[in-house]
Symmetry: C2
Subunit: 152 residues, 2 copies
């Protein structure tokens, strides 16, 4: 399904800028900031404005075609892959990449559904989404020595 059709389904106008931005975002393995995406796309779309990048990302998010990722500092990052998957965050650089899907699914399937229901009941909330990030650094330490802390 090409960008034009995707936009049509959501009732979005199909402009050159939107197509280029959306396709670039889908094809990037990292989840770029608005500025990184801007730099990536500039060559294919001279005259493009950073404001348009922000506006477009906002439109895509509201249409459900992309997601703004939570970060602790600096610019927001964006991900046009809306299927359930997990992220690895490099705590030194802030870079975000996907967890390979087979592994991510295993983690997801091990979540205890009964506990989640109990969380909904006790907090009187409905859980729409569970967000999971693996936070760490490049270069593995010897695996035996890894101590993990689960939090936030």
């Amino acid at each position: 399904m090409d960008a034009r059709s995707v936009f049509a389904v959501r009732g979005l106008r199909c402009t050159r800028q939107r197509v280029v931005l959306y396709e670039a975002l889908i094809n990037m393995k990292t989840h770029p900031t608005a500025e990184e995406l801007y730099d990536k796309v500039r060559e294919h779309c001279p005259g493009l404005s950073l404001a348009t990048v922000y506006n477009t990302l906002e439109v895509l998010c509201r249409a459900g075609l992309c997601r703004r990722l939570p970060t602790t500092r600096g610019s927001s990052r964006y991900d046009a892959d809306t299927h359930p998957h997990l992220h690895a965050v490099n705590s030194e650089t802030g870079d975000v990449v996907d967890i390979p899907d087979d592994l991510g699914q295993e983690v997801i399937q091990n979540l205890p559904q009964d506990v989640i229901k109990e969380i909904e009941a006790r907090l009187d909330m409905s859980v729409d989404r569970i967000s999971i990030q693996f936070i760490g650094r490049e270069q593995a330490r010897p695996l035996e020595k890894v101590t993990q802390e689960v939090s936030v």
Copy 2:
């Protein structure tokens, strides 16, 4: 252990502002933004500056006494509870509260360690921390109808 001792252990100077801010942060069940904390504490500490709130939060984070929570928009939020626990995020308001500890521990203990090791191996990273948020809204829908999506 009082704030003075906690600071002493980390080699932090014990100032009136730091004590008041740290104690207020520990005692808040929500995880406030710098400005929310500022408002909360102003009465107990007239003349306090918002810049000091930011500076203090930064110092506490670097000393491992508090954590800046990732948000998708607006101000950062801070949590002085550093023991491993999970958060519920209200997607409408941005408010963040803790998941009851017994439930959080169950979720944490169900994480498949072998899969995590495999993630480290394949991404050539060391996982320091796994961050999990339950994202949803107030007011439970009937539990039978809940469909969940795991992601980000």
